[in-house]
């Protein structure tokens, strides 16, 4: 049916059009802009929901045309892309609500929301890209769309962060481009295909394939913040809270991780990657990043910076998961793509709430904030426990599945990494929780503002509550159909059966 063909494009266009419309709206058009924002987000949510349903039942959504000689522009929806698209659609909606409240009365809102939607459109494109070339198109678009958000405040610090961001990501993009072009020259245009393409690659190509793989990972690793390419991420936390939330949970960091998943599964194929000996080193690198990020997070005094290093650590779980050669481990890695998003966005929302409502930025200012802002603090607590991997929250499902997968593929050392990282996570999250709930407030808050009937503005209050509830639900209800875990199992089933 032709409608199915156009569905991916519709999904993409909702955000893109929203972005363009917002750019031309006047700065003062608060209501109209909010309506456009939320309307587009809702429409997209609907489209994605339809597509999720369709993909589950085997409907083929695809659109392609030739862009350059021998190069196709392909949009396609498979189980994996719907995973990312779904995450992006849901969290975009919530983040938009949050951002509307967060940016109330601040300047440059048109600019902000325009680029914000553009950023989400890129994410959608990344999710729905059907080959490496198309993926790269949106990957770079994401870089550009995010820059204005990172530097949004226009302070010296923000501009410095933006500069670091651009230097890292554009260089990564260049390396990625080289790798993709090389691969293209070597074997032609490769669509993403479950099971990959190099199961029976010519042994003469092995050397080049390994080198290309390294380049691909290096290029994608910048956004995925793999050690030692993570330097931009902690700096970028100067961005406004909704941006950090989106950056860490859905957009940039996840784009990198998602790309790595695509490369390993749908380009090389998991068997071929293992055969070429590529997974083991990558797994070690990911494991090191997990521990490194956590260890660095320990010593941070700025809340958002601590969260940023925590992201460095958490995203590598995804990569570690897919490097575990086996369906269960892969499920663990993939499901974390969603779980980490939900949990981290909760934490950043909360960090934003503390900053906006009480003026809290540093951890030692958080004493007793739980009494003043119980809802936010509850959400933060849930998110933090999720990150630690405490059951029955989302993080636990990840760790359990990954641990089981590691054992199934005889990589027992991964258990050690998981345990150690959980310990470190506990070491840097639990003191915060203690401060929140059990310390007495220090008198006055750094910069308090009264904001409506709730503990903070309702726009800011509900998104973290919802994501916290989701953190609990995706863990507790992990066995239901269409839960992240079940969906990840579906993805893996399709990847391994072909």
């Amino acid at each position: 049916m032709t409608l199915n063909m156009w569905m991916p494009l519709f999904a993409l266009m909702t955000s893109l059009m929203a972005s363009l419309v917002i750019f031309v709206l006047p700065e003062q058009g608060y209501r109209l802009r909010t309506a456009v924002n939320l309307g587009a987000a809702l429409v997209k949510l609907g489209i994605v929901a339809v597509m999720v349903w369709g993909v589950f039942h085997g409907v083929d959504y695809g659109l392609s045309f030739t862009m350059l000689p021998g190069v196709e522009f392909v949009l396609k929806a498979d189980a994996l892309s719907m995973m990312f698209a779904g995450l992006s659609a849901v969290l975009w909606f919530l983040t938009t609500i949050y951002a509307v409240g967060y940016l109330e009365d601040s300047p440059n809102r048109s600019r902000f929301f325009g680029f914000f939607s553009l950023c989400v459109a890129s994410t959608m494109g990344i999710a729905l890209a059907g080959n490496l070339f198309t993926f790269f198109l949106f990957y770079e678009m994401l870089t550009l769309a995010t820059y204005p958000l990172v530097v949004h405040r226009g302070t010296e610090q923000a501009l410095r962060a933006g500069r670091a961001y651009v230097i890292y990501t554009l260089t990564g993009g260049a390396v990625l481009l080289l790798a993709i072009a090389w691969l293209q020259g070597l074997v032609g245009d490769l669509p993403f295909r479950e099971g990959g393409h190099f199961g029976d690659a010519d042994p003469a190509l092995h050397g080049s394939l390994i080198l290309i793989f390294v380049l691909l990972i290096a290029g994608l690793g910048v956004k995925a913040a793999i050690f030692p390419l993570h330097g931009w991420l902690p700096q970028a936390m100067v961005a406004p809270a909704p941006v950090s939330a989106l950056l860490h949970a859905v957009a940039v960091v996840k784009a990198g991780a998602f790309g790595i998943v695509r490369v390993v599964y749908d380009i090389y194929g998991i068997e071929a990657s293992a055969m070429l000996g590529l997974l083991e080193p990558l797994a070690w690198l990911a494991a090191f990043t997990i521990l490194y990020g956590s260890a660095r997070a320990l010593s941070q005094v700025d809340l958002k910076r601590r969260l940023a290093f925590s992201t460095v650590s958490q995203v590598s779980y995804i990569i570690l998961g897919i490097c575990l050669f086996g369906p269960v481990g892969a499920t663990g890695g993939l499901v974390h793509l969603l779980h980490q998003g939900i949990m981290k966005i909760t934490l950043f929302f909360c960090a934003g709430n503390y900053a906006e409502t009480l003026g809290i930025h540093r951890i030692d200012e958080m004493d007793g904030a739980g009494r003043r802002m119980p809802g936010t603090s509850l959400a933060f607590t849930v998110g933090a426990f999720g990150m630690i991997g405490a059951p029955p929250l989302a993080g636990f499902i990840t760790k359990w599945t990954m641990g089981t997968g590691a054992l199934a593929s005889n990589m027992d050392w991964v258990i050690g990494v998981l345990v150690l990282s959980s310990l470190l996570n506990a070491a840097y999250f639990l003191p915060i929780l203690h401060r929140l709930w059990f310390r007495e407030p220090r008198g006055s808050w750094p910069h308090e503002r009264q904001w409506g009937r709730l503990e903070t503005s309702a726009w800011l209050f509900w998104p973290p509550m919802l994501t916290a509830a989701m953190t609990v639900l995706v863990g507790v209800l992990a066995s239901l159909p269409f839960s992240p875990l079940s969906w990840a199992e579906l993805v893996v089933l399709r990847a391994y059966s072909s």
């Binding site: 750019f23 700065e27 045309f65 030739t66 862009m67 350059l68 000689p69 190069v71 522009f73 300047p107 440059n108 048109s110 600019r111 790269f136 198109l137 949106f138 770079e140 678009m141 870089t143 550009l144 820059y147 204005p148 530097v151 949004h152 405040r153 226009g154 302070t155 923000a158 501009l159 933006g162 500069r163 651009v166 554009l170 260089t171 993009g173 260049a174 390396v175 481009l177 080289l178 072009a181 090389w182 293209q184 020259g185």
Partner: protein, 489 residues
């Protein structure tokens, strides 16, 4: 039908040049707008005709070669004609609103503009060396005149310098043409190529080719012969700078490229090809570096042209002694680069002009906080920047992709490094502008919004540059078999 189109294409610019010579600026503007309309329609018609029926040779005035002037109307040529129509038309419209009609010397803008246009068309369609020379001279002289329209002493100095370079280039070229004629007895490029395919290469013909290419390189401002370009482009009126950067330098490059593709294989050498490539690379690096260091907005854009032109010269090594596919990829890449740079750079200069008009200063740091006012021009500037940084989905990216493929395919991996580094360096100077515009400073409350028509034109051009990447395949299909043609029929 095509007869009429050709006639329209060739004679309108000349007719309008004469016509506008007789009027003052404001009336010339009205007249020119009508002319622009005609030109754009005619170019479009021609393009469509060629896209449908394929290319043809057109003897001017019914005389065929070798006696008469023969025009080569193939896909590539008409594409460039159309490009010229779009860019020049946009610049003309912009100039009409941008240039102050009250300065008396501004009335010469329109005649010079039309002469330039006719020269460009002559170059795109020209088939023999001497005709090309005439077109080239027409372009150079009117371009110099346009630069001089700036009026101040600086503009005059820059235009004199430009004139000198242009004349020197023409001289070298002419010398080469003379040598070629002496050796082969024909001025038609195709004729020379045919002759060479039957006979051994006469000694000394390398010299002729080298002279011609050196002269053209000077006119194209290839490193290290680029010194004249930034002052001229930087100081001219924005629409003029746009014309110059987008089209004028491309004309000389176009001739050089055609010479190389027809005669390079028999006459040229590997060393020469690599040397030119090396100079191009140096231009990329050096131009970008200097662009990063400029304090004035238009100078940044002008140095960026130096860098972008460097890419074009990678055509020489990438088409010498390589397989058919690689050569094709390189040519396609180069064509896309020419088109996308023309669109993007024109957009950028026009947008820069608007920005300068808005903030009242031509310095980069005067842009602090401008993004708060969400000027369209900044947006257009940014979009054009995307193409210059060769990020997807712009035409610049498509070009870079093809060039990367060509470099990898031919095993000349060092150009890969140049391409990637060039992209990053251009990002450095473009993000410098973005950065400046995002800086929140307290002072900027004064902001002048230029009229919508001024803002829309660069936006359209930038959008075209950006969208080119998505439509590259279609564009390349029309330009099928670029740079190739049989000898005279």
């Amino acid at each position: 039908m095509t007869l009429w189109l050709m006639a329209g294409l060739l004679f309108t610019p000349l007719a309008w040049a004469v016509l506008t010579l007789l009027t003052d600026f404001s009336r010339g503007r009205l007249v020119s707008w009508a002319g622009i309309l005609v030109q754009v329609l005619v170019s479009l018609g021609l393009w469509l005709a060629v896209a449908r029926d394929g290319g043809f040779y057109y003897g001017l005035g019914g005389w065929d070669a070798p006696l008469g002037i023969e025009l080569r109307v193939d896909g590539l040529a008409v594409t460039f004609v159309l490009l010229t129509a779009v860019v020049a038309g946009a610049c003309g419209l912009h100039a009409g609103a941008y240039i102050d009609p009250d300065k008396p010397w501004h009335r010469y803008f329109w005649p010079l503009f039309w002469f330039l246009w006719s020269g460009l068309n002559a170059v795109w369609l020209g088939g023999d060396l001497f005709n090309l020379y005439v077109g080239l001279e027409l372009i150079s002289l009117s371009a110099v005149g346009l630069v001089a329209l700036g009026g101040q002493a600086g503009a005059l100095r820059a235009s004199l310098r430009y004139l000198l370079a242009a004349l020197l280039g023409s001289l070298a070229y002419l010398l080469g043409v003379a040598l070629i004629y002496g050796q082969f007895g024909t001025l038609s490029i195709a004729g020379v190529a045919t002759w060479l395919s039957d006979h051994p290469v006469p000694s000394g013909s390398g010299m002729a080719l080298a002279l011609m290419i050196a002269g053209l390189a000077l006119k194209t401002a290839l490193f290290p012969l680029h010194r004249w370009l930034p002052p001229a482009h930087g100081i001219a009126k924005s629409p003029v700078s746009a014309l110059l950067s987008a089209l004028v330098v491309k004309a000389s490059f176009y001739i050089a490229a055609r010479l190389w593709l027809e005669l390079g294989q028999p006459i040229g050498s590997l060393a020469a090809a690599q040397l030119i490539g090396l100079l191009g690379s140096a231009a990329v690096v050096w131009g970008s570096w200097l662009a990063c260091r400029q304090q004035r907005l238009k100078q940044v854009v002008a140095y960026s042209s130096v860098a972008q032109i460097g890419y074009l010269f990678l055509l020489f090594p990438l088409t010498f002694s390589v397989s058919e596919t690689v050569s094709l990829q390189a040519q396609q890449g180069m064509t896309l680069q020419v088109i996308s740079h023309a669109l993007a750079k024109a957009a950028m200069f026009l947008a820069a002009g608007n920005l300068i008009l808005s903030v009242g200063s031509n310095r980069v740091d005067a842009l602090a906080g401008v993004s708060r006012f969400l000027p369209f021009s900044l947006f257009s500037f940014g979009l054009a920047g995307v193409s210059l940084m060769s990020l997807p989905p712009s035409g610049g990216f498509a070009a870079k992709w093809l060039l990367l493929q060509a470099s990898l395919g031919s095993g000349q991996w060092w150009w890969v490094l140049v391409l990637l580094a060039g992209g990053l360096l251009s990002a450095a100077y473009i993000f410098r502008i973005y950065r400046a515009s995002f800086l929140e400073s307290s002072g900027t409350d004064q902001f002048f919004h230029p009229s919508r028509s001024l803002e829309v034109i660069p936006l359209i051009l930038a959008m075209l540059a950006l969208g080119l990447g998505l439509a590259s395949d279609q564009v390349l299909t029309v330009m099928a078999l670029p740079f190739e043609g049989e000898g005279a029929p």
